[in-house]
C-alpha cells in the first residue's frame, strides 16, 4: 500500500512536469498551427543551460529561470528563422511536421558535441522530506508542484482576463478574421512563441531536476509524454493538456510502481494509441484530429 501512496506522490510531481510541457506544446499547435517536434530538444537544451549555470555554483532556481528565458528566446528565434518563413510560403501542415523533425535532429546533434552522451545531474540537495499520510515528497518536488500550479493559474488568467490572451484565442479560432478585426496577429504569434518557449524551457529544467539524471537522449521521452498529454486532452486545448497531464502523470507513475519503470513511455504511448483509436479528437476538442488537414 505504501508503495502506491509513494507512487501517488510521484504522480503529483510527474503530472506537474508534464503539464508544464504539454500546455506549451498544445498552445503552439492551437494558436500557430505548428506541431513542433523540436519541442523535446528545446526542453533538453534549456535543461543543459540550467546545468551549466548550476555547475558554476549558482542555485538551480536561478538556473531554472535562465532555462525558461533560453527556451523562450530559442523558440522565438526558431519560429522567426525557420517555421514562420515556411508557413508564409504556404508549406502544408505535413511539410511543417517534416521541417520541425529536421530541426529537432539538428538541435540534438549540434548539442551533442557540446554536452556529449554522458548523463549529468544538477548539484542540488533534494531538501527536507515532507510526509503526508504515506506520501513522501522532497522540498524540490514541492517547489515543482508549486511552480506548475502557479504557471497553470497564470495561463488561465492570461487566456481569460488579458487582452493578449483574448487576442491569442481569437488568432487560434480564425487568424484571418482576427487580423481583419485589427488584432496584430504577427505580434500575437511572436508573444505565443515567447510564452510557450518559456514554458518549454521551464518544463525542461523541471523534468531534468525531477529525474535523477538526464542526457541528450532524454529529449525524445520528453516529447512523447508532452505529445501524449496534449493529444489526450485534445490538441490545441490548454485545459485539455492540463487534464491530459494529470491522467498521464498518474497512470505512468502508478504503472511504474506496479510493474516496471522502464515502460513509463510505453504506457504513455498505450494511452496515446487508445485515444487515437477511440476518440481521436481528444477529451476536450470538438474537431481536433478529425478535421481535414489544411
Amino acid at each position: 500500500m505504501s508503495l502506491f501512496a509513494a507512487a501517488f506522490g510521484f504522480g503529483l510531481v510527474s503530472m506537474s512536469v508534464i503539464a508544464l510541457a504539454a500546455v506549451g506544446f498544445t498552445m503552439q499547435f492551437g494558436i500557430t498551427n505548428m506541431i513542433n517536434l523540436a519541442y523535446g530538444e528545446v526542453m533538453i537544451s534549456s535543461a543543459y543551460v540550467a546545468y551549466y549555470i548550476n555547475r558554476a555554483g549558482i542555485s538551480i532556481w536561478i538556473g531554472m529561470l535562465a532555462g525558461a528565458a533560453f527556451g523562450a528566446v530559442f523558440s522565438f528565434l526558431l519560429n522567426r528563422i525557420v517555421y514562420a518563413p515556411f508557413q508564409r510560403k504556404g508549406t502544408s501542415l505535413l511539410g511543417m511536421v517534416i521541417v520541425s523533425l529536421a530541426v529537432s535532429l539538428m538541435i540534438a546533434n549540434l548539442l551533442l558535441p557540446i554536452v556529449s552522451y554522458n548523463s549529468v545531474s544538477y548539484h542540488q540537495s533534494s531538501g527536507g522530506l515532507l510526509r503526508v499520510g504515506g506520501i513522501i515528497l522532497t522540498a524540490n518536488q514541492i517547489v515543482i508542484i508549486g511552480v506548475a500550479v502557479v504557471v497553470m493559474l497564470g495561463i488561465h488568467g492570461l487566456l481569460t482576463y488579458t487582452r493578449l490572451g483574448k487576442a491569442m484565442r481569437a488568432t487560434a479560432a480564425n487568424p484571418t478574421l482576427a487580423r481583419n478585426c485589427g488584432i496584430p496577429t504577427k505580434r500575437v504569434v511572436d508573444a505565443v512563441w515567447l510564452i510557450t518557449g518559456g514554458l518549454c524551457g521551464l518544463a525542461g529544467v523541471v523534468a531534468a531536476l525531477n529525474s535523477d539524471s538526464f542526457a541528450i537522449a532524454s529529449g525524445a521521452g520528453f516529447l512523447i509524454t508532452a505529445l501524449a498529454a496534449a493529444v489526450l486532452g485534445g490538441a490545441g486545448q490548454p485545459y485539455g493538456a492540463m487534464i491530459g497531464a494529470v491522467i498521464i502523470g498518474m497512470v505512468t507513475e502508478l504503472s511504474a510502481a506496479s510493474f516496471s519503470p522502464e515502460y513509463k513511455d510505453v504506457v504513455a504511448f498505450g494511452i496515446l494509441v487508445l485515444v487515437m483509436v477511440l476518440r481521436p479528437q481528444g477529451l476536450l476538442a470538438k474537431r481536433g484530429a478529425l478535421a481535414a488537414a489544411g
Partner: protein
Amino acid sequence: MNTYYAANLLVYAGVDIIACLALNLQFGVSGIVNFSFIVFQAAGAYAAAVLSMPPHTASGYEFQLYVGGFQLPFPLPWIGGALAGGLLSIPVGLVVLRKLRSDYQAIALLVTSIIANTVITNARPFLNGAAGLALVPQPLQDQIDPGTDWYQYFYIGLTAVCVVLVWFVASRIVNSPFGRSLRAMRDHELAASALGKNPVALKMTIFIVGGVIAGLSGAILVGFIMLWAPSVWLFPETIILFAAVIVGGRGNNMGAVLGALLVPVGFEEVTRLLPSEFNMLGFAITPPVGLIPALQWVAIGLLIIGFLWFRPEGVRPEPRHVFDGAPVVPDAPEVELVRTA
C-alpha cells in the same frame, strides 16, 4: 578497392534503393508520412534473422535470448522478412490511417517508431534486447563459403535481383490506374473520395505494400551484416530516407533511386573519406569522437530544410502525367490563389 569493400558499398546501396522506392510509394506517391518506416525494415530483419538462426539453445548461440530459431533454408527467411514487414503494417495502419488527420498520422507514426525501439530494447527474451541478434547465418553459407570473393559477388547479385524486382513493382504501381488513384488521393483526398475512391483502402494497401518491401530490405541487410540490434534502427534512420526521397524527387521512382545514391550512400562514403586528423596551420587537430557523425546528422537536417525551401520538388521532379486527348491549354496564365489562412 577490394571486393569486400565493393560488396559493402553495393549491398548498402541496393538496400537503400529498395527502402527509398518503398518510402517513395508511401510518402511521394500517396502522401503518407511514414515516420516509422525503419520499424518495418527492422521487422523484416528480425524475422529473417530468427527464421534462419538455430534455436537460442544451440551451441554457439547460448549467449543470446530470442524467440524462434527455425534454421530455414535460404529464400524462406527473406520471404518471411517481407511478410513480417507487411503483417506489422496491418495493425499499425488500422490504428493510424483510418480516422486521423494526416499530420496526426505523422506524429503517431513517429511515436510508434520511438516506442517500438524502447520496447525491443527493454524486452530481452524476445529479440535479445539492446544487445541485439548476432551471428545471423548468411544466405546459402553452407553451399558457398562466405569468406570468398565469389560469395560477395553472389550477394551483390541477389541484392541486384531484388532491386530490379522492387523497381518493377514500384513502376507498375506508379503507372497503373491504382497509382493514379493514389496521386489523386494525395493531391486532393476529398475530391478523390467524391469520385468513389476509398482513401482508407488506398492508404492501407500502399502502406502494406511499402511494409513488405521495407521488410525485404531489412532481410537483405541482416543477411549481409549478420547482426541486428535496436541501435541500428533508431528513428533518425527514417529521416535519412526521407531526406533521400525529398532530395531525389517525391513521387518519382528515378528520383528515389537517385536520392538513395546521393544521401545515405553519399554521406557514408564522404564521411569515410574524411581524415581522422586535420592539419591546420601546422597543428594536428583531431576532432572529438562523435563530432563527425553529429555533423552528418546536422547536414541531413539542413539538406531537408534546404530542399523544402529552395527546391521542394527535388532533383528529379515527378513527371506531370498528361494523357493523349487531354485538352491542350496554351500557356494558361498562372492564377495567383489568395490564401485565406
